[in-house]
């Protein structure tokens, strides 16, 4: 059974804190993705990675950075959390080439920034 896990289901942080969200997949997938999901806006891509140490900006990368030191792990970093980063964060992994949109999602992390 395929699995994508995220480090926390719920997280409360204060404005200005550095926040780490971690994602681990066990499918040996090349591609990994970070999205945020907000009501009425659907899923918006923050960053993705197509290989270890490789990353590409998505549609809304501002205020975020990522790290992929190992194939199975993809981390999202909020350098200085702000209230407008309160959201649901979803990690996903996908296979190579045209199967990369056949994505498996983690359970999500609901982040509240006070």
């Amino acid at each position: 059974d395929v699995k994508v896990t995220q480090s926390s289901r719920y997280l409360v942080k204060r404005t200005g804190e550095k926040v780490f969200l971690e994602c681990v997949q066990d499918m040996d997938h090349e591609n990994m993705f970070w999205y945020r999901q907000d009501p009425g806006l659907g899923l918006r891509l923050i960053y993705f990675s197509y290989d270890v140490k490789m990353k590409e900006k998505g549609d809304i990368p501002e205020g975020y950075s990522v790290s992929r030191e190992k194939k199975e792990r993809f981390s999202l970093i909020l350098e200085s959390a702000s209230t407008n980063q309160t959201s649901m964060y979803l990690c996903a992994s996908g296979g190579p080439r045209d199967t990369r949109l056949l994505q498996y999602f983690g359970p999500g992390t609901r982040l509240l920034v006070l």
Binding site: Y35, G40, L41, G42, L43, R44, L45, D59, L90, A92, D98, T99, L101, L102, Q103, Y104, F105, G106, P107, G108
Partner: protein, 111 residues
């Protein structure tokens, strides 16, 4: 602007009625995927369509990819309460190596 438009945003149906959600792109798509997200859950992959005019069925669900590969639809026949959730499409833009999720259609089924 949004590359993949999805309508309607919400749909409320009586159990047993049919339901359809549509995705439209101004740009030709290489392929399109459909996902379902149950309330409180995460998106789960349903199906991928690749060929022009392709039609695929999964029990009561019928997926279509338009001839021009710019639109797609998901049709549910005789909805059940287990169909409740948000349905998303995701399209890979041809020759652009970029993809976009639609904003989703939230389906509510009244028993």
């Amino acid at each position: 602007g949004q590359q993949v438009m999805q309508i309607p945003q919400y749909q409320h149906v009586q159990e047993g009625e049919d339901f359809t959600t549509y995705c439209n792109s101004s740009t030709t798509l290489s392929n399109i995927q459909w996902y379902k997200q149950r309330p409180g859950g995460h998106p789960v992959f349903l199906i991928q369509l690749v060929k022009s005019g392709e039609v695929k069925k999964q029990k009561r669900l019928t997926f279509q990819f338009g001839e021009a590969k710019k639109n797609s639809s998901l049709h549910i026949t005789a909805t059940q309460t287990t169909d409740v959730g948000t349905y998303f499409c995701a399209g890979l833009l041809y020759n652009f190596n970029k993809f976009y999720f639609g904003s989703g259609t939230k389906l509510n089924v009244k028993p």
